[in-house]
Amino acid sequence: MISYYLSIVETEEDREKVTYIYENFYSFMAYTAKQVLKNNDCQIEDAVHAAMLKIIENLDLIDLSDPQRAKNFCGVIAKNKAKDMCKLKDNQSISMDNEIVQTLEDKNDPTEIVIRKDTYEIIVKAIYSLNDSYRDICLLKYINGLKEREIALILDLPPKTVNVRIFRARQILKKALREENIYV
């Protein structure tokens, strides 16, 4: 399969990148896909293959100088491809994008922002409670530093959907903080 990937990239630099990704992140992508697909080995392989193709399409967005970020990038794509295969994504995304998020009252004065020691703990806890499709987009945004347009390209979503999901994820996380009397 790697030979096929190499044949579809043009430059030597890209070929080296693809080989590195395949060698270092193939197993991780398979593992991530398995979390979604459970024990369907055939589908796991297909999901990784689809993820590899998507990564190759967006090779310029992946920064291999930070392996952890690169790993996250590959993992999110593999997970999303696995979800696509389960055909869960569409149903979920429709229901989620239609859900009504309570509008929260904003305290806009930055001088009033209080960051407590446990702020990060609360947010991390809230991140766990986030829906996968919100979390993955946020991971690509905050970990990989991708723009909304780039995330939309990678996850095959309309840019507007990406914007909405980021907005909602932020609102959910803000709400979690407010419940603990932390105002941001």
């Binding site: 790697i2 030597e12 080989t19 197993s27 952890q68 904003d106 990060y120 941001v184």
Partner: protein, 242 residues
């Protein structure tokens, strides 16, 4: 504005929180070795891919490789031919003729210590700088010429430039370096070795163009005069530098 600032701060908090989340999540993932066991990357296909990468690199450098080989072959051929032909008397004579012909068109001006008589060269160990050249007096400059510039190019080089309204010029260069060597093309000029104040001087002069140069050395400095001027005037200028 407040809203933007608040958003930026919140984004910063989220970035750190997501990094923490990712770290925690990756901790749960089995180690690379375990993952490799669970989902092995086909080493065969990986090796094949690496071989292919090498092939591509090699293919890219192929033209350069051929070029290098061709250059080596040419070099070997030239060396062998030279070795074979040099044994022939005719070839040797032709080479000598060419070298002689070349030297006929060039003159080597050498003011190094070894090439001059001991009594005309200052044997002091110290190198003189042109700052001391103020003691030199340019005693004669033809009428109509005016000093337009004095340039100290380096510590050892000073140039005096005289120009006339008709566009003629005299450039007098004073070099305090102890060794001055130059090969000058004499194809277009007449070459003469003359004496200036008892010192050897090399005169190159083109009658048609009315221009030339004179190089000589007194016991401290090497003087170079380049000008558009009559030959006799040029020599007179040189003789009056004291």
């Amino acid at each position: 504005m407040y809203r933007n600032m608040t958003d930026d701060i919140f984004d910063g908090i989220l970035k750190t929180a997501f990094e923490e989340y990712l770290e925690k999540e990756l901790e749960k993932v089995p180690s690379d070795e375990e993952l490799a066991e669970m989902y092995p990357v086909s080493q065969k296909s990986l090796k094949k891919a690496q071989r292919r990468l090498k092939e591509i690199k090699f293919r890219k450098s192929l033209p350069l490789l051929y070029l290098q080989r061709a250059a080596v072959v040419v070099l070997v051929c030239v060396t062998v031919c030279f070795g074979v032909f040099i044994t022939s008397e005719k070839v040797r004579a032709a080479i000598v003729d060419t070298v002689v012909e070349w030297f006929d068109e060039y003159v080597k001006i050498d003011f190094s210590k070894d090439s001059t008589d001991e009594d005309t060269v200052d044997n002091s160990e110290e190198t003189t700088t042109t700052a001391e050249a103020d003691s030199l007096e340019i005693g004669y400059i033809p009428e109509g010429f005016e000093l337009t510039s004095i340039i100290d190019e380096t510590d050892y080089t000073r140039r005096y430039m005289y120009t006339s309204p008709s566009g003629d010029y005299i450039m007098i260069g004073i070099y305090s370096l102890e060794s001055v060597q130059a090969s000058v093309d004499i194809e277009l000029s007449e070459y003469e070795k003359i004496s200036v104040n008892g010192n050897d001087a090399y005169l190159l002069y083109n009658k048609e163009e009315r221009c030339g140069s004179l190089t000589f050395r007194n016991n401290r400095y090497t003087m170079f005069i380049s000008c558009i001027l009559d030959k006799t005037e040029l020599i007179k200028v040189a003789e009056n530098i004291k």
